[in-house]
């Protein structure tokens, strides 16, 4: 029997969540960032949240993590409203945010829930470090390891909390392309080993399609301030997915146009001629 209870993946329900920030000056009014975000996330589901920069995807994640409060509506974790920082959530930030004076092991241990018995905590930290493949670097300081390793450490720290919901805020955004692909595969195997509900904020459409069960796109409707869910789609097939699949390519185009990226360049009068035969051949 494991001394630390395995996490029970939590259900997350967004109920007309709204968030406004006070204006920078007195003359400037409130600025609404999010409005009417309603979403039901099943336990263990992986949801990718897409959107253009500044559309409030990170804010939505921070509300679930309890770092920001919603100004309207509610976020419920297993039917309990979130008030402040919640033990059942853990965040992986875009930057690793490791304490530079602590070793990889000590940084991961920071994520352990308060009151974890020392022996059980050590065991769990060692297990997570081997899960993210950093056994050989367990005693290194953050400045002695690469950016990808630092991000893996940060991921292990979040997992140390045995979270019901894992919140990832563009966790691979700052990594080089190849490291990013490896980290995506790692995240999938982690999700298999530690099945938590995952909310993944990203601006990378391929990443969303590769990792998520469902993809939602946050965006603005014309004339209304505040972003809301403008597109929601279920990714077909089971993970791990073939990165080159034609079906995903089709979804990719749809999502990109949802983000305001014209897939054919037709806006500039470029005619599209499918040079490669379209599946099925």
């Amino acid at each position: 029997m494991s001394p630390v209870p395995a996490s029970a993946a939590a259900r997350v329900r967004f109920d007309s969540v709204e968030k406004s920030f006070a204006g920078a000056s007195r003359s400037e009014g409130e600025r609404r960032v999010l409005r009417d975000v309603t979403l039901d996330v099943a336990p263990g589901e992986v949801i990718a949240i897409l959107g253009t920069s500044g559309c409030g995807k990170s804010t939505l994640l921070r509300i679930v993590g309890g770092l920001d409060g919603a100004t309207g509506g509610a976020v419920r974790l297993d039917e309990q409203s979130i008030v402040g920082i919640d033990e059942r959530t853990a965040i992986g930030f875009q930057e690793p945010r490791l304490l530079p004076w602590r070793t990889v092991t000590q940084n991961v241990a920071l994520g352990l829930p308060q009151g974890t018995p020392a022996a059980a905590g050590r065991e769990r930290v060692a297990r997570l470090i081997s899960l993210v493949g950093l056994e050989d670097f367990a005693d290194h300081r953050p400045r002695e390891i690469s950016g990808g390793m630092a991000q893996r450490t940060s991921l292990a720290r979040a997992l140390a909390r045995t979270p019901g919901v894992l919140l990832l805020d563009e966790p691979f955004g700052a990594l080089d392309a190849l490291t990013k692909l490896r980290m995506q595969d790692l995240l999938l195997s982690i999700h298999e080993a530690e099945p938590a509900t995952i909310l993944l904020v990203t601006h990378d459409v391929d990443e969303a399609l590769q990792l998520a069960d469902r993809v939602i796109v946050l965006g603005h409707e014309e004339g209304i301030s505040g972003a809301t869910i403008i597109e929601e789609l279920t990714v077909p097939g089971t993970r791990p997915r073939d990165r080159g699949s034609a079906e995903l390519a089709e979804l990719r185009g749809r999502l990109l146009s949802g983000l305001g990226i014209d897939r054919h360049g037709s806006a500039r009068g470029i005619e599209t001629e499918p040079g490669i035969p379209i599946f099925p051949y």
Partner: protein, 270 residues
Amino acid sequence: MTHAPTPATAVRAARPRTGRSRSLTVILGGAIIPLVLLAVWQTVASLGIMPTSQLPSPVMVWDAGVDLAQRGLLLPNIGISVQRVFLGFAFGAAAGLFLGAIVGLSRLGDVLLAPTLGALRTVPSLAWVPLLIIWLKYGEVSKVTLIAIGAFFPVYTTVSAALRHVDRNLVEAARAFGLNGFALFRTVQLPAVLPSVISGLRLALAQAWLFLVAAELLAASMGLGWLLSDSQNNGRTDRIFLAIILLAIIGKLSDALIGIFARWANKRWA
């Protein structure tokens, strides 16, 4: 925990030898200018360019030291000065750490205390002397208090400023993992500001010696500062030189102690 040595640890193991020869270079290199100064001083003194009453030779200064030591006057004077600096530095630095932490960590503390302390900081040190003498008389307390005032401000300023500039992202990450209040301070903020705290302590120690001499020049019957003013009154230039050289040596030694502490802390925390 054991694991196979990586190239990084192998490189580190090879470093100490070059490090030792480098520190030898540093010690020898640092000694060059004092030795040259000593030689110039000896030459000028023995050529008789300046009268002995104004510029005694190094040997005369040494003899003055030996003479004071034999009469049992040297060590008590050094001892009382060191004691005053140590006490004043300890009280001043402790108060500086405490108030610096309050102002740096709490918005309320910042609003309430920072303007007042900022104003007091601009008062020149010697302006306190008449008040301290009226309130605390000529005893040890007035001198230690003056030194504590001198040691307080460098520590207070560096600590409060450093705490205000701790990486917000790190603090937020630690909060997201459930750290709060004192645990947050101990885990994130304190280690993050430790290097600045130590450089503040270093400045404070230099200030403490400065204020010591000010205090002893004005009102004392013992100590290195008193030795300076007493020798001025008696025309003993050799003793003035002796006191200045002793202040330089002891000041440098006490600074080196903090330097060792700083290196240990940097290895541990940075």
